[in-house]
Every structure is written in C-alpha cells, then in structure tokens.
C-alpha cells in the first residue's frame, strides 16, 4: 500500500485523516509503529500526539457469546434454505455442484461453524487450561498426561492411544461419526510430543490445543491446531495432510515445518524446513493462497488479511523450541517477551516506552534454565532491569 508523505501536517490534520486513523489502529502495539515514525521523522512528535488522541476513543467492544451467534446463524441458515426450496427459481447454484463445498467460518476463539454436515470441523473444548497437559477423548473423558512434557502415540491398526510409553487407552466406542476427535491441551509452561496414526510426528508448544482422530478416514488427513506446533508429516501424496487453524489452513504434501497460530497473536506463521506446503486463508471467498518452498517463512497478518512470504536464512530457528531452545534473530523485544510469557507461564509488566528504545535482538536461550537465568541474559541484551515477583516479571529502563 502506498502511504501519503505526511509532510508539514498538523496534529489536527492527522486526526482528521481516515488513512492515518486506520494506520494508527493497525500498527498500535506493534514494532511497525516505531518504524513508521522513523520513516516520518519530521512529523514524529505530531504523530505521537495524534495517536494519543485517537487511541482515547478506541474501545474494547463487547463480544457476543459463541452460542448466541451460532443460534442466530442456525436460524438464518434454515430460513435461507427454506426460502430457496419454496422458490425453485432462486436455487440454481449450490446443490447443482456435485461436490459439496466446504465452508468454514471461524467465529470467536477458534471455533468452526459446520454449514455442511459431514465436513471436518472441530470445536475445541472450552474448558480453561489445566495444570498439566491433558488428553480429552471424544466421549469427554480427560486423561492427565502427568507433570512432565507428555508423549502421546496413536497405535496404528489398534485404534488405541498410548500415553507416556506405558498406559494404553483403548479407543472409545467405534463410532461412525468420524468427526469426533481426540484433543490434547498443553497449558503454558509445558510441551508435548505425539505420533499420529499415519506416523506423522507432532510437537506441541506451550499454550496449544490440538485435535486429531484415532484413525484417518477419507482421502484427507485433517487435524486442528490452536497455538504452535512442529510437524514431521509422513509422505502420502494421495492423502494430503491438512492443518486447520482459525484463519488459515496449511496443506501438506510430506514435509517438515513449524506452524504458530496462537489466538492471542495477530499473525499466523509457517516456516518450512523440507518439502512443500500450501498456506491458504480461510473464511474468505477470495482468500490468498501461497505455496511455500524450503527455507521460507510465510506470515499471515490477521488484521490486513494478507500473507507475506520471506526467505528465512535460519529456518530451524523458529522451531528450536522443539529441542528446548528459543532461537531468534532480529526479533522485536515485545515478541521475545510474548514467547517467554508462554514458556514460563508468567506475565511481564513494563512501562510503555520501556522497550521502545530497545533495538531488535538476536540470540539463543536455553529454556531448560530457570526464568531467572534466562532473564539475566535478556536484561543484559535489552539493557533493562528486571524483578521477578511470583508469576510477574517487572521490567524497567536502566536510566530511570
């Protein structure tokens, strides 16, 4: 998008300008705002003041409940279908196409509305994060996966799931409803690894939810992810492996890659190490679609609804968490802090502006070390002071 030059404009001009208002709201809280200011250094002070005024009126709008939205949608859908039946002339499209089109619309917190029954959709259980990783079976039974990083394996041909190399859980009742999936919930500060029925290996990062079947049926292998995962997908061109997230789906043709799709982030990121994957926006008739080749990183921006693909010189870095490392290059301090919040299940408090003077940072952190040890390094690099108070880390600038 081409931006106006914004030269010689007053605060009044800026707060009147629709493009500037839109920009402020999109860039607020992201490092891109600082970059934008740097690009317009002559108007910087005015822009900062204009932003303050605009942000006064940006409210946290109340959000309706998922159930209510679904209720209304169900009656609208029925109403529309009923009318099409009564009036044969308006029904020319739709049913004529032999293959039912899969329409997924994401509402709220990674939940899918099922418009065409039989098609793969999954509603993650709404229960709050447990203390330990848990496995939720289709019948609702919860199995505690223990205090350590959990291991789950689907035993091929036996319809059974093995937990932590010992206990084996027989598959729940044989049900023709294959849409019923198992769910693994990994709370913050935990990790989990698993092997699926087709031999695909999945590592789940802290604060993630993942749904998978005991047996893949049909010609697609479909799973659902909220959070971050690293995948080594068993090759099988006849049965593409598809990972659904709230905003995008990633179609895989035998490959190794990482996918980060946390609901709290305003982006979804895929980094490809081997093979080929296709990343596609959902919930949009004209959704963008990109096919990635190795050593590329694709980022979907949820606000702009655009996918950017860049070459990733160190594709192993974003997935180093699998091995207990967090490796990053040229990352904004905000993003690093967000990651540490998930790994250590803590909350960072800092004065606004405390981070603004910090440049992008690069490095490698051993996440097996204690938070205190890791923070000592981070503080040194960012030139900030820190203080750990139970589950809060308070950051402050050195100069203060």
């Amino acid at each position: 998008m081409k931006l106006k030059p914004y030269i010689n404009c007053s605060v009044e001009d800026l707060i009147e300008d629709d493009e500037f208002i839109d920009l402020v709201k999109r860039l607020h809280g992201t490092p891109k705002w600082e970059l934008f200011l740097d690009d317009h250094s002559s108007s910087k002070q005015k822009m900062i003041e204009a932003k303050k005024i605009i942000m006064l009126f940006v409210t946290n709008e109340p959000v309706p409940s998922y159930e209510k939205k679904l209720d209304v949608w169900t009656s609208l859908d029925r109403f529309e279908k009923g009318r099409s039946r009564d009036n044969g002339r308006t029904l020319k499209i739709g049913l004529s196409s032999a293959a039912a089109v899969l329409i997924l619309v994401a509402l709220g917190n990674l939940v899918y509305l099922n418009f065409n029954r039989n098609d793969a959709t999954f509603l993650f259980s709404s229960s709050p994060d447990p203390d330990h990783p848990v496995l939720v079976l289709p019948n609702g039974n919860q199995i505690d996966l223990g205090e350590n990083d959990a291991k789950v394996a689907v035993l091929k041909g036996q319809n059974a799931i093995q937990v932590n190399d010992d206990s084996i859980i027989g598959s729940s009742v044989e049900t023709p409803d294959h849409a019923r999936l198992n769910e693994v919930i990994v709370p913050f500060a935990r990790k989990s690894s698993m092997v699926l029925a087709d031999g695909t290996k999945v590592w789940l990062n802290a604060g993630s939810r993942f749904a998978f079947p005991t047996k893949f049926e049909g010609n697609k292998r479909e799973v659902f992810l909220e959070g971050e995962g690293y995948f080594e997908v068993t090759e099988n061109p006849d049965h593409p492996f598809i990972i659904h997230t709230q905003d995008i789906e990633v179609k895989v043709l035998g490959t190794i890659f990482g996918l980060s799709a946390y609901a709290a982030d305003d982006f979804v990121e895929t980094v490809l190490l081997e093979g080929r994957v296709q990343m596609q926006e959902k919930n949009n008739l004209f959704g963008e679609k990109v096919i990635m080749t190795p050593s590329q990183k694709a980022t979907y921006n949820k606000t702009r609804k655009e996918i950017d693909v860049i070459a990733e010189a160190h594709p192993e870095a974003p997935v180093a968490w699998v091995k207990g490392w967090y490796q990053f290059s040229n990352e904004s301090p905000e993003k690093v802090i967000k990651k540490l919040e998930r790994y250590y299940n803590v909350k960072f408090d800092y004065y606004p502006g405390a981070l603004s003077s910090s440049l992008p940072i690069s490095g490698k952190l051993d996440l097996k070390e204690s938070l205190d040890e890791v923070m000592a390094i981070v503080a040194k690099v960012t030139k900030l002071n820190y203080e750990i108070k139970e589950d809060h880390v308070v950051l402050s600038g050195k100069q203060e």
Binding site: D22, E61, P62, G94
Partner: protein, 196 residues
C-alpha cells in the same frame, strides 16, 4: 468493483456462502453497536436476526452496496430505534433502553488502578464528561469504527460540516481540559492495551 460490492452481488444472487460470510464478518461489530443502545443481549440479537431475515426475503430488490459494514450499521440503527420506541411506549420508564447510542470510552470506566493513575484518569473522565452525546457518537464512528465524515453524515443524518464540527469541537474541548497533562495519557492507554 470493490470486494464489498462483489460479495453483495453474490448475496443478492443467493450464491452459496455469501450470507455466512457477511454474517460472520459483521456480527461482532453489529452486536457491539447494539450494546450502545441496550444491555439486553437477546433483544439485540433478535433485532440483528430480523434485519437479516428482511435482507434474505428482499435480496432481489436490494440496491447496490459499496460498504457492507456501513449499510448494516445504518439498517440496524433504524431498526433498533424503532423497536426501542415501541418498548418505551410499553414500559414507560425503563432505563435499560435508550433511543440513541450511549457511548462510553474505556478511559471513563472504573477499573482498579493505583492512586496516581486514578488522578490522571479523573482528569480524562472530567474532560470526557463535558462532551455531549452527539459529540461522543461522532467520535465513536470516526475513531472506533473508522468511518469517513461522508459516511458519518449518512449515519447521523447531519451535514458534512456538522459532522466535522462535532469531532473537532470534541477534540478541542478535551485538549483544553487536559492541558499539559496530555502527555501522561499515553501512559495509561498503553498500559490498558497491554492488559487486554
């Protein structure tokens, strides 16, 4: 043709998925707007549902729409006001309903904060309380919803100049009350954004 016009055409032709797309993209926004009129969530959803029933029933006769969000907001606004006037007649003194949107900005709401912040917040609150309901409404459309002045005139049924005046006077009055303490605002707002 804009993307919105395109989707709208699809909806008029009863093509698959256009309705679901429009509903899912705008339902949160419409609900949030409805809450400015009433706290009764069922009432808001009933009105949203009626609006969509109307659109489905009359899809063939609907005009061209360039901005779906704006179109839906205006239609919902009209329906809410009509319904609320009916309700007010039924139950004469009912404080749950008001026939014009009541905009409350986050800085005005009482959140638990320390004393220093409370003092700064009090200042903002004072500034905001001097704004009248029309000014608030204009600020909401301009900054919260991101509509242009042209669109605000349509929503509020006022002239272009009036819409501009509402916004600029409101901002001017705020700046005056807050004076040189304006800078400290940044602190509170950033912190708020961080909390959510």
């Amino acid at each position: 043709m804009s993307e919105d016009s395109h989707i709208w055409e699809k909806f008029k032709n009863a093509e698959d998925s256009a309705l679901s797309l429009i509903y899912s993209q705008h339902v949160d926004f419409l609900f949030g707007y409805g809450r400015k009129f009433s706290d009764d969530e069922d009432f808001i959803f009933d009105t949203i549902q009626d609006l969509f029933y109307y659109l489905i029933t009359n899809r063939k006769n609907l005009g061209e729409v360039k901005n779906i969000k704006l179109y839906l907001l205006k239609s919902l606004q009209r329906r809410l006001i009509l319904e609320l006037e009916k309700k007010q007649k039924q139950a004469k003194r009912n404080n749950d309903y008001h026939t014009e949107p009541e905009i409350v900005f986050p800085a005005e709401e009482n959140l638990i904060r320390d004393e220093e912040e409370q003092a700064q917040l009090e200042l903002i609150r004072q500034g905001m309380q001097q704004l009248n309901s029309k000014q608030r409404e204009a600020l909401y459309y301009k900054y919260t919803c991101g509509f242009s002045y042209q669109q605000i005139c349509e929503i509020m049924s006022v002239s272009y100049d009036t819409a501009r005046q509402l916004v600029s006077r409101a901002v001017g009055s705020l700046k005056k009350t807050l004076g040189k303490d304006f800078l400290t605002l940044f602190f509170i707002l950033k912190k708020e954004a961080f909390l959510f």
